[in-house]
Protein backbone atom coordinates (compact mmCIF):
# COMPACT_ATOMS: atom_id res chain seq x y z
CA UNK A 1 0.00 0.00 0.00
CA UNK A 2 1.43 3.39 -0.93
CA UNK A 3 1.89 6.19 1.56
CA UNK A 4 -0.85 8.69 0.55
CA UNK A 5 -3.45 5.92 0.50
CA UNK A 6 -2.26 4.68 3.89
CA UNK A 7 -2.52 8.18 5.38
CA UNK A 8 -5.98 8.64 3.85
CA UNK A 9 -7.31 5.33 5.19
CA UNK A 10 -5.78 5.94 8.63
CA UNK A 11 -7.32 9.41 8.75
CA UNK A 12 -10.67 7.89 7.77
CA UNK A 13 -10.46 5.29 10.52
CA UNK A 14 -9.47 7.92 13.09
CA UNK A 15 -12.28 10.25 12.04
CA UNK A 16 -14.87 7.50 12.47
CA UNK A 17 -13.46 6.59 15.90
CA UNK A 18 -13.31 10.25 16.94
CA UNK A 19 -16.93 10.88 15.93
CA UNK A 20 -18.04 7.86 17.99
CA UNK A 21 -15.82 9.02 20.85
CA UNK A 22 -17.24 12.57 20.81
CA UNK A 23 -20.79 11.19 20.77
CA UNK A 24 -19.88 9.01 23.74
CA UNK A 25 -18.58 12.08 25.59
CA UNK A 26 -21.77 14.04 24.85
CA UNK A 27 -23.94 11.19 26.09
CA UNK A 28 -21.79 10.69 29.18
CA UNK A 29 -22.84 14.21 30.19
CA UNK A 30 -26.49 13.26 29.66
CA UNK A 31 -25.94 9.97 31.51
CA UNK A 32 -24.48 11.88 34.43
CA UNK A 33 -27.41 14.27 34.60
CA UNK A 34 -29.88 11.40 34.37
CA UNK A 35 -28.15 9.20 36.95
CA UNK A 36 -27.67 12.11 39.35
CA UNK A 37 -31.33 12.91 38.85
CA UNK A 38 -32.40 9.41 39.81
CA UNK A 39 -30.01 9.36 42.78
CA UNK A 40 -31.63 12.58 44.01
CA UNK A 41 -35.18 11.38 43.17
CA UNK A 42 -35.54 13.80 40.23
CA UNK A 43 -36.17 13.09 36.57
CA UNK A 44 -33.14 14.80 35.06
CA UNK A 45 -33.42 16.24 31.55
CA UNK A 46 -36.59 14.91 29.94
CA UNK A 47 -37.91 17.67 27.70
CA UNK A 48 -35.71 17.51 24.58
CA UNK A 49 -36.62 14.32 22.72
CA UNK A 50 -37.72 11.06 24.37
CA UNK A 51 -36.06 10.67 27.82
CA UNK A 52 -34.09 13.83 27.03
CA UNK A 53 -32.01 11.94 24.47
CA UNK A 54 -31.55 14.98 22.23
CA UNK A 55 -30.33 17.13 25.13
CA UNK A 56 -26.60 16.96 24.12
CA UNK A 57 -27.50 18.33 20.68
CA UNK A 58 -29.49 21.18 22.18
CA UNK A 59 -26.61 21.96 24.56
CA UNK A 60 -24.14 22.05 21.68
CA UNK A 61 -26.24 24.52 19.69
CA UNK A 62 -26.81 26.65 22.78
CA UNK A 63 -23.11 26.77 23.66
CA UNK A 64 -22.07 27.62 20.10
CA UNK A 65 -24.36 30.64 19.99
CA UNK A 66 -23.46 31.93 23.46
CA UNK A 67 -21.34 35.04 23.65
CA UNK A 68 -17.69 34.00 23.54
CA UNK A 69 -16.46 36.69 25.90
CA UNK A 70 -12.74 37.45 26.15
CA UNK A 71 -12.19 39.87 29.02
CA UNK A 72 -9.76 42.70 28.16
CA UNK A 73 -7.38 42.04 31.06
CA UNK A 74 -6.41 38.54 29.90
CA UNK A 75 -3.32 37.39 28.05
CA UNK A 76 -5.18 36.68 24.83
CA UNK A 77 -2.96 34.00 23.22
CA UNK A 78 -2.65 31.91 26.37
CA UNK A 79 -6.31 32.46 27.22
CA UNK A 80 -7.33 30.81 23.95
CA UNK A 81 -4.60 28.17 24.10
CA UNK A 82 -5.47 26.84 27.58
CA UNK A 83 -8.86 25.22 26.78
CA UNK A 84 -7.43 23.88 23.51
CA UNK A 85 -4.55 22.23 25.37
CA UNK A 86 -6.99 20.70 27.88
CA UNK A 87 -9.21 19.25 25.16
CA UNK A 88 -6.39 17.97 22.91
CA UNK A 89 -4.40 16.34 25.73
CA UNK A 90 -7.61 14.68 26.88
CA UNK A 91 -8.26 13.22 23.41
CA UNK A 92 -4.73 12.01 22.71
CA UNK A 93 -4.32 9.13 25.21
CA UNK A 94 -7.20 7.27 23.56
CA UNK A 95 -5.00 6.63 20.49
CA UNK A 96 -3.26 3.64 22.07
CA UNK A 97 -6.15 2.06 24.00
CA UNK A 98 -7.27 -1.17 22.30
CA UNK A 99 -11.08 -1.28 22.12
CA UNK A 100 -11.38 -4.55 20.16
CA UNK A 101 -9.15 -7.28 18.79
CA UNK A 102 -9.93 -6.69 15.15
CA UNK A 103 -12.50 -4.39 13.59
CA UNK A 104 -11.93 -5.07 9.88
CA UNK A 105 -10.94 -8.16 7.87
CA UNK A 106 -7.27 -8.65 6.95
CA UNK A 107 -7.87 -7.72 3.32
CA UNK A 108 -10.69 -5.95 1.56
CA UNK A 109 -11.42 -5.65 -2.15
CA UNK A 110 -12.47 -2.27 -3.49
CA UNK A 111 -13.25 -1.93 -7.23
CA UNK A 112 -11.27 -5.08 -7.98
CA UNK A 113 -8.25 -3.91 -6.03
CA UNK A 114 -7.22 -5.86 -2.96
CA UNK A 115 -6.02 -3.75 -0.04
CA UNK A 116 -3.83 -5.38 2.60
CA UNK A 117 -5.12 -3.83 5.82
CA UNK A 118 -3.17 -6.17 8.06
CA UNK A 119 0.28 -4.95 7.07
CA UNK A 120 -0.43 -1.37 8.15
CA UNK A 121 -2.37 -2.38 11.26
CA UNK A 122 -5.52 -0.78 9.89
CA UNK A 123 -7.64 -3.80 10.74
CA UNK A 124 -6.75 -3.64 14.44
CA UNK A 125 -9.16 -2.41 17.08
CA UNK A 126 -6.75 0.30 18.19
CA UNK A 127 -5.59 3.48 16.50
CA UNK A 128 -1.89 2.88 17.13
CA UNK A 129 -0.28 -0.18 18.72
CA UNK A 130 3.01 1.29 19.97
CA UNK A 131 5.59 -0.49 22.12
CA UNK A 132 5.55 2.17 24.82
CA UNK A 133 1.75 2.55 24.89
CA UNK A 134 1.34 3.10 28.61
CA UNK A 135 4.19 5.63 28.69
CA UNK A 136 2.54 7.49 25.82
CA UNK A 137 -0.69 7.69 27.84
CA UNK A 138 1.16 9.12 30.82
CA UNK A 139 3.18 11.51 28.65
CA UNK A 140 0.00 12.98 27.16
CA UNK A 141 -1.93 13.13 30.42
CA UNK A 142 1.04 14.78 32.15
CA UNK A 143 0.58 17.68 29.71
CA UNK A 144 -3.02 18.22 30.84
CA UNK A 145 -1.72 20.26 33.76
CA UNK A 146 -0.77 23.08 31.37
CA UNK A 147 -4.43 23.71 30.57
CA UNK A 148 -5.07 24.48 34.24
CA UNK A 149 -1.87 26.45 34.88
CA UNK A 150 -2.07 28.59 31.74
CA UNK A 151 -5.83 29.07 31.96
CA UNK A 152 -5.48 30.25 35.54
CA UNK A 153 -2.57 32.56 34.82
CA UNK A 154 -3.83 33.99 31.53
CA UNK A 155 -7.23 34.92 32.99
CA UNK A 156 -5.60 37.54 35.23
CA UNK A 157 -8.20 36.98 37.90
CA UNK A 158 -7.59 35.97 41.51
CA UNK A 159 -9.99 33.03 41.58
CA UNK A 160 -8.61 31.71 38.31
CA UNK A 161 -5.00 31.82 39.46
CA UNK A 162 -5.77 30.14 42.80
CA UNK A 163 -7.90 27.50 41.12
CA UNK A 164 -5.27 26.80 38.47
CA UNK A 165 -2.53 26.48 41.08
CA UNK A 166 -4.54 24.20 43.31
CA UNK A 167 -5.58 21.96 40.47
CA UNK A 168 -2.04 21.67 39.13
CA UNK A 169 -0.69 20.80 42.60
CA UNK A 170 -3.46 18.20 42.88
CA UNK A 171 -2.77 16.74 39.44
CA UNK A 172 0.98 16.37 39.89
CA UNK A 173 0.51 14.81 43.35
CA UNK A 174 -1.87 12.15 42.12
CA UNK A 175 0.02 11.54 38.90
CA UNK A 176 2.67 9.86 41.04
CA UNK A 177 0.22 7.47 42.69
CA UNK A 178 -1.38 6.81 39.29
CA UNK A 179 1.97 6.04 37.68
CA UNK A 180 3.17 3.80 40.50
CA UNK A 181 -0.12 1.88 40.86
CA UNK A 182 0.29 0.22 37.46
CA UNK A 183 3.89 -1.01 37.90
CA UNK A 184 2.45 -4.27 39.28
CA UNK A 185 0.54 -4.75 36.03
CA UNK A 186 3.72 -4.21 34.03
CA UNK A 187 5.56 -6.77 36.17
CA UNK A 188 2.83 -9.33 35.45
CA UNK A 189 2.51 -8.56 31.73
CA UNK A 190 6.17 -7.80 30.99
CA UNK A 191 5.30 -5.18 28.42
CA UNK A 192 4.42 -1.51 28.07
CA UNK A 193 2.17 -2.15 25.07
CA UNK A 194 -1.52 -1.96 25.99
CA UNK A 195 -2.36 -4.54 23.32
CA UNK A 196 0.06 -7.03 24.94
CA UNK A 197 -1.24 -6.18 28.43
CA UNK A 198 -4.77 -7.09 27.32
CA UNK A 199 -3.51 -10.35 25.77
CA UNK A 200 -1.71 -11.22 29.03
CA UNK A 201 -5.09 -11.17 30.82
CA UNK A 202 -6.50 -13.97 28.68
CA UNK A 203 -6.95 -16.36 31.61
CA UNK A 204 -7.23 -14.06 34.60
CA UNK A 205 -8.00 -10.35 34.87
CA UNK A 206 -5.30 -8.39 36.65
CA UNK A 207 -7.82 -6.93 39.10
CA UNK A 208 -7.69 -10.28 40.92
CA UNK A 209 -3.89 -10.21 41.10
CA UNK A 210 -3.61 -6.45 41.72
CA UNK A 211 -6.62 -5.47 43.84
CA UNK A 212 -4.65 -2.81 45.74
CA UNK A 213 -3.19 -1.47 42.49
CA UNK A 214 -6.69 -1.18 41.03
CA UNK A 215 -8.03 0.73 44.05
CA UNK A 216 -5.06 3.14 44.04
CA UNK A 217 -5.45 3.60 40.29
CA UNK A 218 -9.13 4.44 40.55
CA UNK A 219 -8.69 6.90 43.45
CA UNK A 220 -5.81 8.63 41.66
CA UNK A 221 -7.86 8.69 38.44
CA UNK A 222 -10.71 10.45 40.27
CA UNK A 223 -8.23 13.08 41.45
CA UNK A 224 -6.62 13.43 38.00
CA UNK A 225 -10.04 14.06 36.47
CA UNK A 226 -10.79 16.52 39.31
CA UNK A 227 -14.01 14.67 40.06
CA UNK A 228 -15.92 14.36 43.32
CA UNK A 229 -14.64 13.85 46.01
CA UNK A 230 -11.61 15.73 44.65
CA UNK A 231 -13.44 18.41 42.66
CA UNK A 232 -11.80 21.28 44.54
CA UNK A 233 -11.82 23.57 41.53
CA UNK A 234 -15.59 23.27 41.47
CA UNK A 235 -15.64 24.34 45.10
CA UNK A 236 -18.01 27.21 44.31
CA UNK A 237 -18.12 28.66 47.79
CA UNK A 238 -14.32 29.07 47.82
CA UNK A 239 -13.06 29.51 44.28
CA UNK A 240 -16.16 30.32 42.19
CA UNK A 241 -15.17 28.05 39.27
CA UNK A 242 -11.39 27.91 39.67
CA UNK A 243 -9.39 28.47 36.50
CA UNK A 244 -12.60 28.35 34.42
CA UNK A 245 -14.08 31.45 36.08
CA UNK A 246 -13.43 33.89 33.22
CA UNK A 247 -14.33 31.47 30.42
CA UNK A 248 -17.56 31.35 28.46
CA UNK A 249 -19.21 29.68 25.46
CA UNK A 250 -17.27 26.95 23.64
CA UNK A 251 -13.97 27.77 25.36
CA UNK A 252 -15.62 26.84 28.64
CA UNK A 253 -17.23 23.87 26.90
CA UNK A 254 -13.77 22.65 25.83
CA UNK A 255 -12.78 22.44 29.51
CA UNK A 256 -15.95 20.43 30.15
CA UNK A 257 -15.25 18.28 27.09
CA UNK A 258 -11.78 17.65 28.50
CA UNK A 259 -13.21 16.64 31.87
CA UNK A 260 -15.64 14.07 30.46
CA UNK A 261 -13.05 12.87 27.97
CA UNK A 262 -10.71 12.28 30.93
CA UNK A 263 -13.39 10.24 32.67
CA UNK A 264 -13.91 8.00 29.65
CA UNK A 265 -10.17 7.61 29.01
CA UNK A 266 -9.52 6.79 32.69
CA UNK A 267 -12.32 4.21 32.65
CA UNK A 268 -11.10 2.72 29.37
CA UNK A 269 -7.55 2.58 30.73
CA UNK A 270 -8.69 0.87 33.95
CA UNK A 271 -10.64 -1.60 31.81
CA UNK A 272 -7.56 -2.28 29.70
CA UNK A 273 -5.12 -2.62 32.58
CA UNK A 274 -7.22 -4.41 35.19
CA UNK A 275 -10.47 -5.74 33.73
CA UNK A 276 -9.16 -7.71 30.76
CA UNK A 277 -9.85 -5.03 28.16
CA UNK A 278 -12.07 -6.19 25.28
CA UNK A 279 -11.89 -9.84 26.30
CA UNK A 280 -15.01 -11.70 27.34
CA UNK A 281 -17.21 -14.64 26.32
CA UNK A 282 -20.12 -14.77 23.82
CA UNK A 283 -20.51 -11.04 23.10
CA UNK A 284 -18.28 -9.34 20.51
CA UNK A 285 -15.07 -7.73 21.93
CA UNK A 286 -16.14 -4.13 21.27
CA UNK A 287 -19.36 -4.66 23.23
CA UNK A 288 -17.39 -6.01 26.19
CA UNK A 289 -15.05 -3.02 26.06
CA UNK A 290 -17.88 -0.47 25.98
CA UNK A 291 -19.77 -2.35 28.70
CA UNK A 292 -16.81 -2.49 31.10
CA UNK A 293 -15.83 1.11 30.38
CA UNK A 294 -19.31 2.44 31.04
CA UNK A 295 -19.66 0.43 34.24
CA UNK A 296 -16.62 2.39 35.46
CA UNK A 297 -18.03 5.68 34.09
CA UNK A 298 -21.16 4.87 36.09
CA UNK A 299 -18.97 4.46 39.20
CA UNK A 300 -17.57 7.96 38.56
CA UNK A 301 -21.12 9.38 38.50
CA UNK A 302 -22.28 7.25 41.42
CA UNK A 303 -19.42 8.56 43.57
CA UNK A 304 -20.35 12.13 42.61
CA UNK A 305 -23.88 11.52 43.76
CA UNK A 306 -22.75 9.99 47.04
CA UNK A 307 -19.63 11.56 48.56
CA UNK A 308 -18.93 15.03 49.92
CA UNK A 309 -15.84 17.00 48.92
CA UNK A 310 -12.36 16.69 50.46
CA UNK A 311 -10.56 19.69 51.95
CA UNK A 312 -7.32 20.63 50.21
CA UNK A 313 -5.09 19.54 53.11
CA UNK A 314 -6.93 16.19 53.27
CA UNK A 315 -6.37 15.80 49.55
CA UNK A 316 -2.63 16.34 49.89
CA UNK A 317 -2.52 14.02 52.91
CA UNK A 318 -4.21 11.22 51.00
CA UNK A 319 -2.02 11.63 47.93
CA UNK A 320 1.41 11.88 49.54
CA UNK A 321 1.05 10.05 52.84
CA UNK A 322 -1.38 7.26 51.99
CA UNK A 323 -1.49 6.46 48.28
CA UNK A 324 2.22 6.98 47.48
CA UNK A 325 3.56 4.66 50.25
CA UNK A 326 0.81 2.12 49.52
CA UNK A 327 1.72 2.09 45.82
CA UNK A 328 5.39 1.48 46.65
CA UNK A 329 4.41 -1.29 49.07
CA UNK A 330 2.22 -2.84 46.38
CA UNK A 331 5.20 -3.00 44.01
CA UNK A 332 7.44 -4.73 46.56
CA UNK A 333 4.75 -7.23 47.65
CA UNK A 334 3.93 -8.03 44.02
CA UNK A 335 7.64 -8.61 43.37
CA UNK A 336 8.05 -11.01 46.30
CA UNK A 337 4.92 -12.98 45.41
CA UNK A 338 5.87 -13.32 41.73
CA UNK A 339 9.39 -14.48 42.62
CA UNK A 340 8.21 -17.02 45.23
CA UNK A 341 5.61 -18.51 42.93
CA UNK A 342 8.21 -18.64 40.15
Amino acid sequence: MNMPLLILLTALKITVILVVFLTAIAYTVLMERKVLGFIQLRYGPNRVGPWGLLQPLADLVKLLFKEDFTPPMVNKVLFIMAPMITAITAFLPFAVIPFASQILPDTITVYGQTLDLKAAGLNQGVIADVNVGILYVFAMSSLAVYGAVLGGWASNSKYSLLGGLRLSAQMVSYELALGLSIIGVLMLAGSLSLVKIVEAQKNLWFIFLQPLGFIIFMIAAFAECARTPFDLIECENELVAGYQTEYSSMKWALFMLGEYCHIIVASALATTLFLGGWQGPVLPPIVWFVLKTFVLVFVFIWVRGTYPRFRFDQLMYLGWKVLLPLALLNILVTGVVILFLG
Binding site: V132, L135, A139, L165
Partner: protein, 165 residues
Amino acid sequence: MEYLFYSLAAVALISGALVVFQTHPLRSALWLIVNFFAVAGLYLLAHAEFIAAIQIIVYAGAIMVLFLFVIMLLNLRQPEEELARPRLGLKIAGITVAVLSAVLIGMGLAKVVLKPVTELPVGLGNTESVARLLFTDYLLPFEVTSVLLLVAIVGSVVLAKAKLR
Protein backbone atom coordinates in the same frame (compact mmCIF):
# COMPACT_ATOMS: atom_id res chain seq x y z
CA MET B 1 12.59 10.17 6.28
CA GLU B 2 15.33 12.78 5.89
CA TYR B 3 12.69 15.48 5.39
CA LEU B 4 11.14 14.48 8.70
CA PHE B 5 14.51 14.73 10.39
CA TYR B 6 15.35 18.11 8.91
CA SER B 7 11.95 19.62 9.65
CA LEU B 8 12.06 18.41 13.27
CA ALA B 9 15.63 19.67 13.60
CA ALA B 10 14.55 23.04 12.21
CA VAL B 11 11.67 23.23 14.70
CA ALA B 12 14.07 22.36 17.52
CA LEU B 13 16.58 25.04 16.50
CA ILE B 14 14.04 27.79 15.85
CA SER B 15 12.11 27.15 19.05
CA GLY B 16 15.42 27.00 20.93
CA ALA B 17 16.38 30.39 19.54
CA LEU B 18 12.94 31.78 20.43
CA VAL B 19 13.43 30.61 24.04
CA VAL B 20 16.43 32.93 24.25
CA PHE B 21 14.93 35.88 22.39
CA GLN B 22 11.68 36.25 24.37
CA THR B 23 11.48 39.10 26.85
CA HIS B 24 8.83 37.43 28.96
CA PRO B 25 10.01 34.31 30.86
CA LEU B 26 6.62 32.61 30.49
CA ARG B 27 6.87 32.78 26.71
CA SER B 28 10.41 31.40 26.86
CA ALA B 29 9.10 28.49 28.92
CA LEU B 30 6.38 27.74 26.37
CA TRP B 31 8.82 27.73 23.47
CA LEU B 32 11.02 25.40 25.48
CA ILE B 33 8.10 22.94 25.60
CA VAL B 34 7.86 23.10 21.79
CA ASN B 35 11.59 22.43 21.71
CA PHE B 36 11.18 19.35 23.94
CA PHE B 37 8.58 17.96 21.56
CA ALA B 38 10.82 18.42 18.54
CA VAL B 39 13.68 16.68 20.35
CA ALA B 40 11.34 13.86 21.39
CA GLY B 41 10.44 13.48 17.71
CA LEU B 42 14.14 13.25 16.85
CA TYR B 43 14.59 10.49 19.44
CA LEU B 44 11.67 8.68 17.88
CA LEU B 45 13.31 8.89 14.46
CA ALA B 46 16.41 7.31 16.01
CA HIS B 47 14.15 4.40 17.15
CA ALA B 48 14.58 5.40 20.81
CA GLU B 49 10.88 5.36 21.70
CA PHE B 50 11.46 4.88 25.42
CA ILE B 51 13.73 7.92 25.61
CA ALA B 52 11.22 9.94 23.55
CA ALA B 53 8.41 9.10 25.99
CA ILE B 54 10.61 10.01 28.96
CA GLN B 55 11.58 13.29 27.33
CA ILE B 56 7.92 14.30 27.35
CA ILE B 57 7.02 12.86 30.77
CA VAL B 58 9.99 14.22 32.72
CA TYR B 59 10.93 17.41 30.88
CA ALA B 60 7.63 18.66 29.47
CA GLY B 61 5.37 17.09 32.10
CA ALA B 62 7.34 17.64 35.30
CA ILE B 63 10.32 19.99 35.05
CA MET B 64 8.52 22.63 32.98
CA VAL B 65 5.64 22.60 35.47
CA LEU B 66 8.17 23.53 38.15
CA PHE B 67 9.57 26.26 35.89
CA LEU B 68 6.10 27.69 35.31
CA PHE B 69 5.40 27.62 39.05
CA VAL B 70 8.61 29.54 39.72
CA ILE B 71 7.95 32.08 36.95
CA MET B 72 4.43 32.63 38.22
CA LEU B 73 5.58 32.66 41.84
CA LEU B 74 8.11 35.40 41.23
CA ASN B 75 5.75 37.29 38.92
CA LEU B 76 8.67 38.90 37.09
CA ARG B 77 7.45 42.11 35.58
CA GLN B 78 10.17 44.65 36.34
CA PRO B 79 13.02 42.96 34.43
CA GLU B 80 10.85 42.71 31.34
CA GLU B 81 10.89 46.48 30.87
CA GLU B 82 14.58 46.74 31.66
CA LEU B 83 15.47 43.96 29.24
CA ALA B 84 13.50 45.58 26.45
CA ARG B 85 15.98 48.50 26.29
CA PRO B 86 19.53 47.18 26.73
CA ARG B 87 22.32 49.68 27.13
CA LEU B 88 24.90 50.33 24.39
CA GLY B 89 27.70 48.55 26.25
CA LEU B 90 25.57 45.43 26.61
CA LYS B 91 24.74 45.50 22.91
CA ILE B 92 28.40 45.70 21.89
CA ALA B 93 29.33 42.93 24.33
CA GLY B 94 26.51 40.75 23.04
CA ILE B 95 27.45 41.18 19.39
CA THR B 96 31.13 40.50 20.13
CA VAL B 97 30.33 37.27 21.98
CA ALA B 98 27.95 36.17 19.23
CA VAL B 99 30.48 36.78 16.43
CA LEU B 100 33.31 35.07 18.35
CA SER B 101 31.26 32.00 19.18
CA ALA B 102 30.01 31.81 15.58
CA VAL B 103 33.65 31.80 14.41
CA LEU B 104 34.55 29.12 16.98
CA ILE B 105 31.60 26.90 16.06
CA GLY B 106 32.33 27.42 12.35
CA MET B 107 35.95 26.34 12.84
CA GLY B 108 34.78 23.27 14.71
CA LEU B 109 32.20 22.38 12.08
CA ALA B 110 34.76 22.73 9.28
CA LYS B 111 36.71 19.82 10.74
CA VAL B 112 33.69 17.51 10.95
CA VAL B 113 33.70 14.77 8.33
CA LEU B 114 30.17 13.64 7.49
CA LYS B 115 29.78 9.88 7.31
CA PRO B 116 26.65 7.93 6.40
CA VAL B 117 25.03 6.47 9.49
CA THR B 118 25.37 2.72 9.66
CA GLU B 119 22.24 0.67 10.26
CA LEU B 120 21.28 0.63 13.94
CA PRO B 121 20.97 -2.75 15.64
CA VAL B 122 17.34 -3.87 15.84
CA GLY B 123 15.64 -3.00 19.11
CA LEU B 124 18.30 -0.59 20.32
CA GLY B 125 16.70 2.10 22.44
CA ASN B 126 13.51 0.20 23.15
CA THR B 127 12.43 -0.36 26.72
CA GLU B 128 13.70 -3.92 27.15
CA SER B 129 17.23 -3.27 25.93
CA VAL B 130 17.54 -0.05 27.94
CA ALA B 131 16.27 -1.88 31.02
CA ARG B 132 18.58 -4.86 30.59
CA LEU B 133 21.62 -2.62 30.31
CA LEU B 134 20.53 -0.27 33.09
CA PHE B 135 19.89 -2.99 35.66
CA THR B 136 22.99 -5.09 34.90
CA ASP B 137 25.99 -3.25 33.39
CA TYR B 138 25.05 0.19 34.71
CA LEU B 139 23.84 -0.96 38.11
CA LEU B 140 26.08 1.37 40.15
CA PRO B 141 25.09 4.60 38.33
CA PHE B 142 21.47 3.53 38.73
CA GLU B 143 21.81 3.09 42.49
CA VAL B 144 23.78 6.33 42.81
CA THR B 145 20.88 8.07 41.06
CA SER B 146 18.70 7.29 44.08
CA VAL B 147 21.19 9.07 46.35
CA LEU B 148 21.24 12.02 43.94
CA LEU B 149 17.44 12.20 44.04
CA LEU B 150 17.57 12.02 47.85
CA VAL B 151 19.94 15.01 47.85
CA ALA B 152 17.48 16.88 45.62
CA ILE B 153 14.65 16.21 48.08
CA VAL B 154 16.71 17.36 51.06
CA GLY B 155 17.89 20.41 49.14
CA SER B 156 14.41 21.57 48.22
CA VAL B 157 13.22 21.20 51.81
CA VAL B 158 16.21 23.14 53.15
CA LEU B 159 15.66 25.93 50.59
CA ALA B 160 11.99 26.31 51.42
CA LYS B 161 12.24 25.55 55.14
CA ALA B 162 12.22 29.12 56.41
CA LYS B 163 8.90 29.68 54.64
CA LEU B 164 7.28 26.37 55.46
CA ARG B 165 7.49 26.58 59.23
